[in-house]
């Protein structure tokens, strides 16, 4: 099912569908996870996103893309939305969108920044800020997958207050490693000095097959991808996606 989501026929347009809010969770003081139910959902591959369309009564309509945070799970998807104060879509989704309300979505979209657990390749995931969202879908799918090439998540975040999915980052499943890097303020007792991602934050142990997925703001993605190339990752195995406050 997930496979057909990527390789759907060229003639089948992606339809707008209604998604209903069935649950929500507070992640941080400015981020919320929305659990959406879509009647006819084809399933997704971790890393894919949906387009969200909001339409006002006067006909004005706006669209934005949001990565899916959840592992494939029937007809539900989870979007984790970071509130941007001067945004147009995120204030509505985080503050006004209520249980049982509906929005239009279209997807799943994306065939490059995806990691199908069935591929069973070693992967390092490097996320900056809310760029961790599509990576979390990969982590969550990994936990239930039968295949067990190692996966590690390096998550760069400003301070402990900004950590998304905090409760899940302690759960050390076999083959899975988490490393949270703090750039401004770290919890007491953290050995690493606060600061931006450095070469020493990334394991030098890798093979020619290893894949890397980098997602975050532009500067972060540029720097992280550069470090991975320096360490010896194959450039063609480094997949990047920009994520962050532009318009949202």
């Amino acid at each position: 099912m997930a496979r057909t989501a990527i390789r759907r026929g060229l003639s089948q347009p992606l339809r707008w569908q209604l998604a209903r809010l069935v649950a929500e969770r507070t992640e941080t003081s400015t981020a919320k996870t929305l659990v959406l139910e879509i009647d006819d959902w084809a399933g997704h591959v971790p890393g894919q996103h949906v387009d969200v369309r909001l339409t006002a009564e006067d006909g004005y309509s706006t669209q934005l893309s949001y990565s899916i945070a959840s592992a494939p799970d029937g007809n539900q998807i989870e979007l984790t939305i970071q509130l941007l104060q001067d945004g147009e879509v995120s204030p509505f989704l985080v503050q006004d969108f209520g249980l049982d309300d509906r929005i239009e979505v279209r997807g799943p979209i994306g065939g490059w920044f995806v990691l199908d657990p069935a591929d069973d390749v070693p992967a390092v995931l490097v996320g900056g800020g809310s760029g961790v969202v599509p990576l979390m879908s990969m982590v969550r799918a990994y936990r239930t997958a039968a295949t067990k090439s190692p996966m590690s998540l390096i998550y760069s975040v400003r301070s402990p207050d900004d950590v998304l999915f905090g409760g899940e980052l302690d759960d050390q499943s076999p083959g899975l490693a988490f490393d949270v890097i703090y750039t401004r303020r770290a919890p007491e007792g953290t050995q690493r000095p606060v600061g931006r991602l450095m070469r020493s934050d990334i394991s030098e142990q890798q093979t020619a097959q290893d894949r890397a997925y980098v997602c975050g703001p532009t500067g972060f993605v540029e720097a992280a991808a550069h470090l991975l190339v320096e360490i010896g990752y194959n450039e063609r195995h480094i997949r990047t996606e920009r994520f962050g406050p532009s318009g949202g």
Binding site: T55, D96, D101, W112, E235, R242
Partner: protein, 199 residues
């Protein structure tokens, strides 16, 4: 009108006939790339047009710079929904580069340093519609925006304006590029909102 999102009003807006449907205007210049930014040296830089008969026309960096420059001021539209209005570039028109190229091809497949590809009809590269650009806003084009040189085809979604451009193959038959094989639209006209295959 179709579905209305309960409680959504949207921010105050000025109607503009310059912004295609589903797009919003940004003031910054977002960067989107599928992989690491390649390091391209000007000493070894070369741009090659290869015809369907395998004839090659190549330009080194100094040779490209010696051709007549143009300074298009255009609006650009990214499939990820941002548009940037009134952007200023400097480069060489594809009409100049194609002037001495003999071809019966209808299609083009653009190649980049780093391995990226994108396809489009050849007629979308001619008649003042496309450039190889190396300056943006009066400055050298930075690597994350495609420097030293990128293709600029502003009337199509920006993924067609390949960064780090290295060459163009002229083909008798259409061949899909990178995003075109991954579910994005084969043509990508922002005014018809041709984002994904089948749109």
């Amino acid at each position: 009108m179709g579905f209305v999102t309960r409680g959504f009003r949207g921010r105050p807006r000025a109607e503009s006939d310059r912004v295609p449907p589903g797009q919003y205007v940004v003031e910054d210049f977002p960067v989107l790339s599928a992989g690491p930014t390649p390091n391209v040296s000007l000493d070894s830089w070369k741009f090659t047009i290869k015809t369907e008969a395998a004839a090659e026309h190549s330009w080194t960096w100094p040779q490209l710079q010696a051709l007549p420059h143009e300074s298009p001021i255009v609006d650009i539209h990214c499939v990820t929904k941002w548009s940037k209005l009134q952007t200023t570039w400097e480069g060489v028109s594809l009409d100049t580069l194609l002037a001495d190229v003999e071809t019966a091809a209808d299609y083009a497949l653009v190649h980049s340093y780093g391995g990226y590809t994108t396809n489009l009809p050849l007629e979308d590269l001619t008649d003042g519609k496309a450039w190889i650009v190396f300056n943006f806003d009066g400055e050298e084009l930075t690597p994350e925006h495609g420097g030293p040189a990128r293709l600029l085809v502003p009337h199509l979604y920006l993924w067609k304006s390949a960064k780090w451009v290295r060459g163009i193959d002229l083909l008798l038959h259409d061949e899909p590029g990178f995003w075109e094989t991954l579910g994005y639209h084969e043509y990508g006209d922002p005014w018809r909102e041709q984002r994904y295959a089948g749109d």
